[in-house]
Structures are given as structure tokens and as C-alpha cells.
């Protein structure tokens, strides 16, 4: 009974934690956010003592900060942009840094025996050939993030592996997962089974394969320069090939612009398309950003054209008149300041006297009342000084500029 109650409380805490974390991670792309939440949820599912895990995680805010620091600033979602990565600037397909950060948390939980590194039947270890360096990595191994445009590496490198103590037996747990070998890290069965869009949201099912359906990003092979022969917008033979950095810059700039299909690289529609690229040259994935064409002005729009002569004339007259007006306004402004300082000083002196120089209660009340009235007048004068500067003078300058805009500009229809 008590265990049930504790389990229920823990579950509530877990749910609260995940809900709060989900709210805090809204700066991420939706896919990345779902991935991060799924990773945390798996962590909770695998934890033997969820309260200990909650204590390790400290708070959703702390975890959000960790994820935010690890999250690539270039990948941050822009409000004007999109909720999805589909049209986002291409990444190189490697495991995102925030996944590594969550992986570190998972490994620290394993170190503290909050999560048991157990291997059940149906699971296997990718490091079976090297028992001394058995290392547990979380479900999200790097295979899922190998850019499909690249040839798979002969031996997968697990980023978190060296940080785990050697005495901790750690294995890759892949429940219900199709058998993989380290020599073939690329998961080729995924596209065959699920011919769905690449950016399909991960399904946090309890029997989900150990490989959380990580978002597959359009890849930009950084190491491979864009070949001239196969690129669709390839330059002539004599011209220098565009540097990859330039492509990155274009993608980056394109990421901050409003949706323009012509600018963004061609996003893969399904899982099959990136697989085909395995045989093709990886550079085919790189679509150099086409130069933006200026958007035609919408019809009915007008442009403001200055009447130059009138504008010069107006400036010649308006500037001295404005300066004169400001000088005139400075007189009451400074007068208000002087009076405010004097009145506030008198009010403060009377207020001090009320509490230190009088012995009769009635006298104290009268002097206190007078002090309050004087201080009120002082505050009013001080505000008048501020208003003369921030309201009257600024309003005068604004009014002169506005008048000049009305008089010296004409609206013409845009061509």
C-alpha cells in the first residue's frame, strides 16, 4: 500500500518534472524538444529509484539550462521561422550536443547506481568483443545521427564511453531492437519499415525500440567540398569551387529569412530519399543556396519621395526654430528643478523638525501635515521638470520632424 502510494507520488513528480521541462524547452525545435523529453522519460522509466533520479536532476530548470547550453545556438528556433527542422538550415547529421549532454546525465545516474546497467535477454552489447571496456551508452547512440551522405565509419565511436569508469559494466541496451553489429552502425531498416516523413515525431511507446526515433536532419557534409561536376548549380571549370563555409553562411542566412523555397536546400521528403544518397555522391545533398531575387513590391504600395528643395528649406528654418523652442522650454524646466529642490528641502526640514523639535502632540500633527503638503508640492514640481524634458522637449522635436515629413515628402505609387 505504502509502495503504491510512493509510486504514485513519484509518478506525479515525474510527470510534473517532464511537463515543466517541456515548457522550458520551447526554444528548441519541436523535434528536438520531443527527443529531449523522450530521453528524460526513458531515464525515468529505467530508473530503479525515481526519487533519487529526481534528486540527481535537481530541477527542470536546471536541466533546461543544461540542455540550452548544449543546444547549438545556430539551431535555436526563431519565432518568425518555423516549428520544424524540415526547413531549417541543414546540420551535419551528427549527434546533437544536447543529446550528448543528456547522455552525460544518464551516465552519471548509472554511476550512482540510480539506473541499473542490466542486460536482459533479447538485449545485446555492442562491446561484447571487449569485456574490459564494456560501456553502457544510452539508447541514442551515434548511429542514428550518422549523416547518410557519408560512408559509415568502420567502428562506431561512442562519445560518452571514455567517461564511464572501467569497473562499471555497461552495455548498450537495445530492447526489442533489430540486431545490429558495431561494424554496421547505420540503421538501414528504419526507412524500410517506416516510409514516413523524416521529421516524424518520436512515439514514446514503452515497447519502443532502444533507438529513439531521432530526428534525421538534412545533412551538409562539411569535410567534402561541393564538387563542381555534380552540383546542380556547379560553376564553370575555371571558376573556383564555392567553399563549404560559404554554403554554411548561405544556409545560416537562409535560416533567418522568411520561408523561401528557392533558398532552402531541398529537404528530403521521406526516409528513402536520404538512403538513396548513400550510393550517390554526398555532395548531391548540398544544394548551394540560390541567390535571392528581390521580392516584387506588392501592387498598391506607395513610396515616399522627398521634395528636396522644400526639405532643405524646412531644415534651414526648422532647426533654429526648434533650438529656440528648446531654449525657451529650458527656462521653466530649470525653474521647476530649482523650485522642486528648494521645496523638497524645506519639506524635509519641516518633517525632521516635526519629530525632533516639538513636544506638544497637536503641534507635531500640524507641522507633520504642513511637511506632507510641502513634500507633495515638491514632488509635483520635480515631475514637472521631468515632463518638460521627456514630454515637452521631446514632443517638440517629434512634432517638428513629423511636420517636416508631412510637408516635404510626397507619396508616389511604387513601380
Amino acid at each position: 500500500m505504502l509502495n503504491d502510494l510512493c509510486s504514485e507520488v513519484t509518478d506525479i513528480n515525474k510527470q510534473k518534472f517532464l511537463t515543466e521541462l517541456g515548457k522550458l524547452l520551447t526554444f528548441m525545435y519541436e523535434e528536438d524538444r520531443q527527443t529531449a523529453l523522450a530521453l528524460y522519460e526513458r531515464m525515468f522509466d529505467k530508473a530503479e529509484d525515481e526519487m533519487a533520479l529526481l534528486q540527481l536532476l535537481v530541477s527542470p530548470t536546471r536541466q533546461a539550462v543544461i540542455v540550452a547550453r548544449a543546444y547549438n545556438a545556430r539551431e535555436h528556433k526563431l519565432d518568425v521561422y518555423t516549428q520544424s527542422r524540415e526547413a531549417a538550415p541543414a546540420s551535419n547529421g551528427e549527434m546533437p550536443d544536447f543529446v550528448r549532454a543528456i547522455n552525460q546525465i544518464y551516465l552519471s545516474a548509472v554511476d550512482q547506481h540510480i539506473i541499473a546497467p542490466e542486460v536482459t535477454s533479447g538485449q545485446f552489447t555492442l562491446f561484447a568483443d571487449d569485456d574490459s571496456n564494456l560501456t553502457e551508452t544510452y539508447a541514442y547512440d551515434e548511429d542514428a545521427y550518422i549523416p547518410r551522405g557519408k560512408a559509415p565509419a568502420p567502428a562506431p565511436v561512442y562519445a560518452a564511453a571514455p567517461e564511464v569508469p572501467a569497473q562499471a559494466p555497461v552495455q548498450v541496451t537495445v530492447p526489442q531492437a533489430p540486431v545490429q553489429t558495431p561494424a554496421a552502425p547505420v540503421r538501414e531498416e528504419v526507412p524500410e519499415v517506416a516510409p514516413m516523413p523524416v521529421q516524424a515525431e518520436p512515439v514514446p511507446a514503452p515497447e519502443a525500440p532502444a533507438f529513439i526515433p531521432a530526428p534525421v536532419y538534412p545533412e551538409v557534409p562539411e569535410e567534402v567540398p561541393a564538387p563542381e561536376a555534380e552540383a546542380p548549380q556547379a560553376p564553370e571549370a575555371g571558376e573556383p569551387a564555392p567553399a563549404p563555409a560559404a554554403v554554411d553562411v548561405d544556409d545560416f542566412v537562409a535560416g533567418f529569412s522568411l520561408p523561401e523555397e528557392a533558398v532552402l536546400p531541398e529537404a528530403p521528403v521521406s526516409e528513402e530519399a536520404p538512403l538513396l544518397r548513400l550510393e550517390d555522391s554526398p555532395a548531391e545533398a548540398v544544394q548551394p543556396a540560390e541567390p535571392k531575387e528581390p521580392a516584387p513590391a506588392p501592387t498598391g504600395e506607395t513610396l515616399r519621395k522627398p521634395k528636396v528643395f522644400l526639405l532643405i528649406l524646412y531644415v534651414l528654418f526648422a532647426v533654429p526654430i526648434t533650438l529656440l523652442g528648446i531654449l525657451l522650454l529650458l527656462i521653466p524646466t530649470l525653474l521647476c528643478l530649482a523650485l522642486a529642490v528648494a521645496v523638497l528641502g524645506v519639506g524635509a526640514a519641516v518633517l525632521i523638525a516635526a519629530f525632533s523639535g516639538f513636544k506638544v502632540f497637536a503641534d507635531i500633527m500640524v507641522v507633520l501635515g504642513v511637511a506632507l503638503i510641502v513634500l507633495a508640492l515638491g514632488i509635483l514640481l520635480l515631475w514637472l521638470f521631468i515632463w518638460f524634458i521627456g514630454g515637452a522637449m521631446a514632443g517638440l522635436v517629434r512634432g517638428v520632424c513629423s511636420l517636416g515629413g508631412r510637408w516635404c515628402y510626397k507619396e508616389v505609387p511604387a513601380v
Partner: protein
Amino acid sequence: MKKGWRIVLFLVVAALFLGAVSVGVGVITGANGDRIFQTLDDRYHLQVYYDYIMQVYDAFLIS
């Protein structure tokens, strides 16, 4: 600026109201104006300042 005006006017009206109430309570409970002025004059020499200002005013008025 409008919000500033609202806040300042609220403060001023509240201070004026409290001051008026204090003065009224003091007068009702027996405050004496001569006694108050005498106390303030002993502390801040109000009479001296008043005489000095009047002399300056007269001098400017005559000239």
C-alpha cells in the same frame, strides 16, 4: 508619460489629503501657531531669513 502623471498625481493627492487631515487633527487638538513658529524660528532662524528677503525686495523695488 501618462502613467507617470497618474502615479505622481496619486502620490500628490494622497500626501495632500494626509497633510490636510494631520493639520486638521492638530488644530482640533489645540495646536498653537505662535508656539510652532517660535519653535521653528529657534531651530531654523526663520525671522532672520524673512527680514533679509524683505530687505532685498525693498532694495530692488526702490532701485
